[in-house]
Symmetry: C2
Subunit: 332 residues, 2 copies
């Protein structure tokens, strides 16, 4: 017996496969393997002392006597680069644009083995401030239409470099996936005069079974139509379309929520690989009230297969109510 | 220097990352490992002689004296099952349906180690006929809105069972991804009076650089906006929306194309993990001329990461013109 649930923000469907479902702690994959990593690796381009192995810093945070906490550099293997133009070329049905844009790496720490849950609050605050600063810097370019901030932790999440880092891609095109999220939210606003994401947040809080953290400025939850086991959304309670509008006060609260969630995942599932994504409005849609910026954390515990690739319906082998209770009650 | 290319069938964008790109033969992952597998595994529920380990057969092909070539059974861990109804339940923004539908397994061969490229032509023909038969059987149920046929080959493609098999999911909902593909094709038809997929096929043939096989009834290619390295499309030349309409004559030609492509992938990339998906119109849209059924083969050579999850823009580290030339010229 399974259940089809619909993600109200995209209208995508999820099959919650109860008969295939595992208990939350069965997703624990291996013994904690990463604690033994050294603080410094000679060959790592992101370790302190190895700054000459990366392009020059675009920005540095916590700089004291040549030491730093956070360092922002262009990605050495940038997917997009700020040269040329964004003119479309077309032959018959083949449409292309030169790969214009930016691709930056935020080195989160000078230490090879300092993961987010173990950073000091001030350090983590600086990290979020750095992301906000880069967002504002990159959006100055009128060719940039959307800014995607993300983190790949672990090989199954698509990273080859173990040193803690995040990435920013500033893209000259808004993809249809994000257009559709905006359409769904706009339609809802036109029908009700209210924000879809805000109503969703209120409904999740009223229901309560999927909430894992809740403070003055943020609520964290495993959404009703979770596409993946332990998928986590962190939603702000003050309504803003753009991550760029996050206030210092909100950053304080976000720091605590983020650390708490990542520490619980680290301990309860033995440092799972995960992706973290900041969803934010396209740059030209920042003033619209229909959208709510938010963070999604996707642990990479299962493999997407042919059914998902063919339909974009995901099969989730965990009940979000059960995984949320497991994380909520997990004692650090 | 990279390039943004747009998939004309979905309007999704792909970053072709030339500076990160590998030569086609660099995607070869390991020594050929699977040839040493036994023809029979005692614990495998799909091997001949172990029929009691699966639900009873829904259909059998090539049955002679208790031997069979192809066996269709319900998936023991079905994501959807044909019980209950498809009534929607709703509370606030949470919408769900009982997991109604069908989930079948097509066991492609009695032998544990007989992959598609090594099957006889007649055996492979029976396999495609079996898929067509199941399609027609499953669509009789008026609650079924779309039928997804797919194959997961190898662990990275999401399978845990090594014995060659495919799967069919008959779903009571049409997902937004497929709705959008239809919208894009319908809009094109309304603007031009022609089929988008057919025009695309003609443009690919005229360009020629990405074609890997071409016979009377089918053309195979690495599409202009390939999302993944070695992504392969097999498109029919006779215009039909639904895979269910494939003729015996077309099946003959498809057999050859499919064997050839899978054999070249097997030999040139050392048996890569892959997904194979049959894209077909929703059951209620079969008569519409705007869509063209086709097959997609996605080798799982790279890992989807945070950027892809956040934007659905994919980064492809291979040039489809190069991979197509590599496969086209590969001597078996």
């Amino acid at each position: 017996m399974s259940e089809l649930r619909q993600d109200p923000t995209t209208l995508d469907w999820v099959i919650i496969a109860k008969n295939r479902s595992k208990r939350p702690d069965e997703f624990k994959k291996n013994e904690l393997k990463k604690i033994a990593i050294n603080a410094y690796e000679e060959t790592c381009p992101f370790c302190i002392g190895n700054e000459d192995k990366t392009p020059k810093a675009e920005a540095v945070y916590g700089d004291t006597n040549g030491k730093w906490n956070i360092r922002v550099v262009a990605n050495k293997f940038s997917a997009l680069t700020p040269d040329g133009n964004t003119k479309r070329e077309e032959w018959k049905l083949f449409r292309k644009i030169h790969g214009y844009g930016r691709h930056e790496v935020i080195i989160e720490t000078p230490l090879h083995n300092e993961f987010i849950p173990f950073m000091s609050d001030d350090h983590l605050k600086d990290f979020i401030i750095a992301l906000r600063d880069r967002y504002h810097y990159l959006k100055k370019d009128p060719n940039i239409k959307i800014i995607i901030i993300f983190k790949n932790h672990g090989e199954n999440a698509g990273t080859s470099l173990g040193h803690p880092h995040s990435q920013i891609v500033a893209s000259p095109v808004v993809p249809p996936y994000i257009r559709r999220k905006f359409e769904v939210a706009t339609q809802y606003f036109d029908n009700t005069g209210r924000s879809l994401h805000f109503d969703l947040q209120k409904a999740e809080i009223e229901d309560g079974t999927r909430i894992i953290d809740n403070n003055l400025n943020f609520v964290a939850l495993h959404p009703f139509a979770s596409h993946f086991p332990f998928e986590t959304w962190i939603m702000p309670k003050i309504h803003k379309s753009s991550f760029g509008s996050i206030s210092d006060n909100e950053i304080n609260d976000l720091t605590g929520v983020l650390k708490g969630i990542l520490l619980k995942l680290y301990k309860s599932l033995n440092d799972p690989d995960y992706n973290l994504i900041i969803h934010t409005a396209p740059v030209d849609d920042e003033r619209k009230e229909y959208y709510l910026w938010h963070i999604e954390i996707i642990p990479r515990l299962t493999q997407v297969a042919g059914f998902e690739l063919g339909s974009r319906i995901t099969v989730n082998t965990a009940l979000p109510e059960e995984t949320a209770a497991f994380i909520r009650n997990f004692k650090i």
